[in-house]
């Protein structure tokens, strides 16, 4: 076999020979195993990945019968970003009737719970209208986005300014206060949408502001389950690793900082999360084989311990998808097939 055409994590094309592909697959899985203290992929799994990458087809898919459920985040925002002028109701009809979506997701362009709180009464009637003209389940999605709770955007002192000054306690206090307010906002907005008939709530990009962000999402999930027993909450992460911006926050007696997906899913389960969406970041300097082997190593460990459905995040820049607004079909379809087949996922 000659050279195999694949790509770097940023999407740039590259040609590798068989030994280079195999080397990248091995190094990718070893990188994840070392960081997460989890097993590397087996020889058979690496050979399966090699077969996927050495396929000459421009597009490939999972074996028939292994298909999974798809959930989405920021769905209508994708239309806005592409400057396609469709209302959110029409966007979801397009996803349902034309794009083969298994689930739908309604989100506001300013995709955070805090700004939505003040105009949620405008979101409710739209949700009610969308529910009356669609059939697939509808999530309402937004981000906890704890960054909006510190100055100048919010009421509390900015930890990013306090930490360089050595004001560790003050920074932690600010995070603690932010968590309290974020939980209140998430529950307020989610309750409004649940009471307008939403099928599920999507907490998206969780942990973007670190461990406090993750804690706020777990506490909000707990509160929603108490208020609406059996409510579906999908929790999608922002990154593969919970950043310890506070450093001492715990949930269920476990320190959140430093958690990788196989630990994150266990605290999510405990909080009452229904569907967990783990993330592995794409490294733009490494090849797609390296990235997919690394991502699958993390995701497989997560799926093996999960008792709830796992929908791995495979949007732009995560889950071995290239860091590009429209990932190329060749590596995107390979990543999709590889992730589903090796991890035995419940969804993407």
């Amino acid at each position: 076999m000659g050279k195999i055409r694949t790509r770097y994590g940023d999407g740039t094309p590259v040609e590798l020979d068989e030994s280079e592909i195999m080397r990248d697959l091995e190094e990718g899985t070893q990188d994840a195993a070392g960081r997460g203290n989890i097993p590397v992929l087996s020889k058979e799994e690496l050979l399966h990945l090699f077969d996927i990458f050495s396929s000459s087809h421009r597009f490939i898919g999972v074996e028939a019968g292994k298909e999974v459920v798809l959930s989405y985040d920021g769905t209508p925002i994708k239309f806005s970003r592409a400057q396609v002028n469709a209302d959110r109701l029409q966007c979801l009809q397009i996803y349902e009737k034309i794009l083969g979506a298994d689930t739908l997701e309604m989100g506001y362009p300013d995709y955070s719970f805090k700004p939505i709180k003040s105009m949620v009464t405008y979101e409710q009637p739209l949700m009610e209208q969308i529910l009356s003209v669609t059939t697939a389940p509808i999530f309402y999605g937004a981000m906890p986005n704890l960054g909006l709770y510190s100055q100048p955007d919010g009421p509390f002192p900015n930890p990013a300014e306090l930490l360089p000054q050595g004001k560790i306690d003050e920074a932690r206090q600010s995070y603690d206060s932010s968590v309290e307010h974020a939980v209140r906002d998430i529950v307020y907005v989610s309750s409004a949408l649940i009471e307008s008939g939403a099928d599920a709530i999507m907490l998206d990009t969780v942990g973007a502001a670190g461990d406090a962000d993750y804690l706020a999402s777990l506490k909000a999930t707990e509160a929603l389950n108490e208020k609406y027993p059996g409510v579906c909450v999908e929790l999608g992460m922002a990154g593969e690793f919970v950043l310890g911006m506070h450093g001492e926050l715990e949930y269920d007696g476990r320190t959140l900082a430093g958690m990788y997906p196989h630990d994150q899913v266990k605290v999510a389960e405990k909080a009452g999360v229904t569907i967990f969406g783990p993330v592995v970041n794409t490294n733009t300097n490494e090849s797609s084989p390296w990235n997919i082997a690394r991502a699958i190593t993390f995701m497989k460990a997560c799926c093996e311990v999960a008792n709830i459905p796992v929908h791995v995040n495979m949007g732009m820049g995560v889950g071995a998808m290239t860091v590009h607004d429209h990932p190329p079909l060749d590596v995107a379809s390979r990543a999709s097939k590889a992730m589903v087949e090796i991890c035995r996922l419940d969804g993407l």
């Binding site: 597009f59 459920v69 349902e96 794009l99 979506a101 689930t103 939403a198 569907i275 459905p309 969804g347």
Partner: protein, 104 residues
Amino acid sequence: MAITHAVASGMGGMRAAGDLVARMQIARGMKIDEAKKYVADKLGVAVFDLTDPIIMNEVREDLGLGILHPNVRSPKCMEAKFNIAKLLDIEINCVNRFRQKAGI
């Protein structure tokens, strides 16, 4: 990207039975194999048929579960969701609220 995943790995949404399997993950937190089997049993089809748009179109039309190109008098949207809730034996939030508000 949504299209890539839908074609490479997705269940086809309303073209097949993707929305119904998703409902079991949402309503009961079922893992994928359990959710597929549950839906297949309720529909009276094989698990393999759940992603077949030809078979599923017929099944959905017969059971009033909503199809991609609905006929004039066939159940659609909220009407279809009433039938889905009953067939899958699950609670659907908007169906319950519709029923309550309409005094049904």
